[in-house]
């Protein structure tokens, strides 16, 4: 049992295990949750209520097959005419007429009018088989869609025959080796009204379109996939101008790479609070606080700093329009407009109530994938919380954080906390997802509201434990020095008076120093004057002395000369030097 030897042997067999052949749908995300697409050569049942996107999913499957995988397809419509279908999907950029003309697709509208039909005796659906077979052979189709085959039940009498024939049809499709999608309307208790799931059992996908809190969301679930693993969750999906996109991000594998690179917050002194370097790249940052505490300003600073580095920033705004954000930020000296014009900053503003959470998430996904930013700002996050959906919001944020981290995108989320609730508590739900959490709060002292900021947590870096006051000035957010008074940190006017007091003290001290300096200077001047006088006196004496010495010398020389002259006259040959000395 604990023998480790067979293990390495079993590994390669796992790798070479034959996989069920699959036909990629080309639909964003669907191939991921099905592990590569729909079962190739088998029928798949797609069911759901009215308007949930069955026809569109099937159509996209065919169009992508024809355009991307060179697998022509037959679309057999029982509900919409070929013309209607062509018009309906033209808005998604699918040009069916062109595909039909290039023999990549056959559109066949099956028209059944119950009132025109009379039944007399036994019949079968061989006509449908011939028709479908002819269409498949005409273009060498690899894919087939039957939308919605249950219409036959309302159009033709004798359901017993129909059931038997449908069973035969699905078997026949398998024999033909075409990958088929059969759509079905959702029934009361069964997946489809006519219980088609009994016949089509290889793969069943259920689509759902539900409305909660007045917003709608579309979801998809792979109920069954024979012979293959698949994601079993409900995945939100979106229908927009590019067709269907499914969002398969609940994997949460926690395998993301972690960067050690740091990126500045855009506020130098805030960087200093975060170990001197700012956030980690690819981390998730939450800025939470009550109303009007400057969350958006912090976000704008960060966005501005990123743009300055030449990085792209995606700004999701859910409360203000881009124009309003830019105007407001200009008032604190941050001009975002040039970045928008340069294409470095992109806004996507929408009301949270526009659509369901999933829709928002999917839209954000698409936007991020398209723009490829390094920084994403979501402002604010919790405007999504409508009613009691905090759990959903958490799930959504988890997906978003997961997605951003995987792509090494730094995410900054702002969050409005309600007054009166402990700030840390109200968001306990999401705190585990957040790497760096800044809290901005009102500090009320002395009938004043002032803004304070502190780092609640910051994973993997030394960070300041100080509550810092900050001001919104016309050149941005400015963190002030900490003034600690008798009753704690001083803010606002208390800080100002403290500052003034300290300034006064400094002034007094400066004046004292100045005074001393002047005194010293005066003394030096006096001293120097004194020295000058002495020097002058000395100079006078020196001159006098030198003069006397000089006269004396001259006199001596003259006397000596006189003596020599005298000796010559007297013809003395005695030693002059002795006589000189003796003369003295």
């Amino acid at each position: 049992m604990t023998n480790p030897k067979p293990k390495p042997k079993s590994r390669p067999t796992v790798k070479s295990r034959p996989q069920l052949p699959k036909a990629p749908t080309g639909i964003q995300g669907l191939d991921e949750i099905t592990g590569g697409g729909l079962p190739k050569g088998r029928p798949t049942l797609v069911c759901g209520g009215a308007g949930c996107g069955k026809t569109l999913l099937a159509m996209e499957f065919l169009v992508r097959g024809a355009t991307q995988y060179n697998e022509p397809g037959v679309f057999m419509a029982f509900e919409e005419s070929a013309k209607d279908l062509t018009q309906n999907v033209a808005s998604l950029g699918f040009d069916l007429d062109d595909l039909v003309a290039r023999k990549k697709m056959v559109l066949d509208f099956v028209y059944i009018e119950r009132s025109e039909i009379e039944e007399s005796g036994e019949y079968d659906l061989e006509g449908l088989f011939i028709r479908l077979g002819h269409a498949i052979d005409a273009i060498g189709a690899k894919r087939v869609v039957l939308d919605t085959i249950e219409s036959l039940f309302s159009g033709l009498p004798n359901p017993l025959i129909l059931r038997a024939e449908l069973r035969r049809l699905f078997r026949w499709l398998k024999d033909k080796g075409v990958t088929a999608i059969i759509t079905g309307e959702r029934g009361d208790k069964t997946l489809t009204r006519q219980g088609l799931e009994e016949y089509v059992s290889d793969c069943v996908i259920v689509l759902d379109h539900r409305v909660s809190e007045q917003t709608s969301s579309r979801r998809m679930r792979v109920v069954k996939y024979r012979g293959s693993t698949h994601g079993t969750n409900e995945y939100p999906f979106l229908i927009d101008e590019d067709g269907i996109s499914v969002l398969p991000v609940t994997s949460l594998s926690l395998q993301q790479e972690s960067s050690t690179q740091r990126i500045p917050t855009g506020i130098a002194r805030l960087d200093a609070m975060l170990g001197g370097k700012g956030y980690y790249r690819g981390s998730s940052v939450l800025v939470s606080g009550t109303a009007g505490t400057g969350k958006s300003s912090l976000a704008a600073h960060f966005a501005d700093a990123a743009c300055r580095r030449g990085e792209r920033v995606m700004y999701f705004a859910f409360e203000e329009s881009p124009c309003q954000i830019m105007r407001n930020m200009r008032s604190i000296g941050i001009d975002l407009e040039p970045w928008v014009n340069k294409g470095l900053l992109r806004f996507q503003a929408s009301r949270p109530t526009l659509s369901g959470l999933e829709m928002h998430l999917t839209r954000m996904h698409k936007a991020v994938n398209a723009f490829k930013p390094r920084v994403v700002v979501v402002d604010p996050l919790n405007s999504f919380v409508i009613g009691n959906n905090e759990i959903d919001v958490k799930a959504m944020l988890m997906r978003l954080v997961d997605f951003l981290k995987t792509s090494q995108i730094t995410g900054l989320f702002t969050s409005l906390t309600r007054g009166g609730v402990a700030l840390e508590q109200s968001e306990v739900g999401i705190s585990s997802l957040i790497d760096t959490w800044l809290l901005v709060k009102d500090i009320e002292i002395g009938n004043e509201r002032n803004r304070g900021i502190y780092v609640l947590k910051s994973r993997g870096m030394a960070h300041s434990n100080q509550i810092r006051e900050f001001l919104l000035t016309d050149h941005g957010v400015e963190l002030r020095d900490v003034y600690v008074g008798a009753s704690g940190v001083l803010t606002g006017s208390a800080r100002l008076s403290q500052e003034a007091q300290e300034k006064a003290e400094v002034l007094v001290r400066e004046q004292e120093v100045e005074l001393r300096r002047i005194e010293l200077e005066r003394k030096r001047t006096t001293l120097e004057a004194h020295i000058a006088v002495l020097r002058a006196e000395f100079a006078v004496q020196e001159i006098a002395s030198v003069k006397i010495i000089g006269q004396e010398k001259a006199q001596k020389v003259q006397q000596a000369q006189e003596r020599v002259d005298m000796g010559q006259i007297r013809k003395v040959d005695a030693k002059p030097s002795q006589s000189k000395r003796g003369a003295k």
């Binding site: 036994e122 079968d124 033709l156």
Partner: protein, 97 residues
Amino acid sequence: MKTMQAEHYVLRLYVAGQSPKSVLAIANIKRICEENMHGHYELEVIDLYQQPQLAQGEQIIAVPTLIKRLPLPLRRIIGDMSDTERVLVGLDLRSKA
């Protein structure tokens, strides 16, 4: 006056090969036509295996299908035509009971 006059019927029967249902349907419709509109009908039997493209053009799903092209309105009768009464109703030769 016009109702008394025998109208001209244009009928087409679509079958799939020589299956028992096809054979039965062909025999039945020929009999019904002879008995009820002798001399003022055209009946064409078409094998969809031979002309599969007609299945789409004529909106055929079930076989056998008999289409009454004339007189209007267009009617379809599906099945092996074994229920003569219903065939006649379908051809507007009998009103629904």
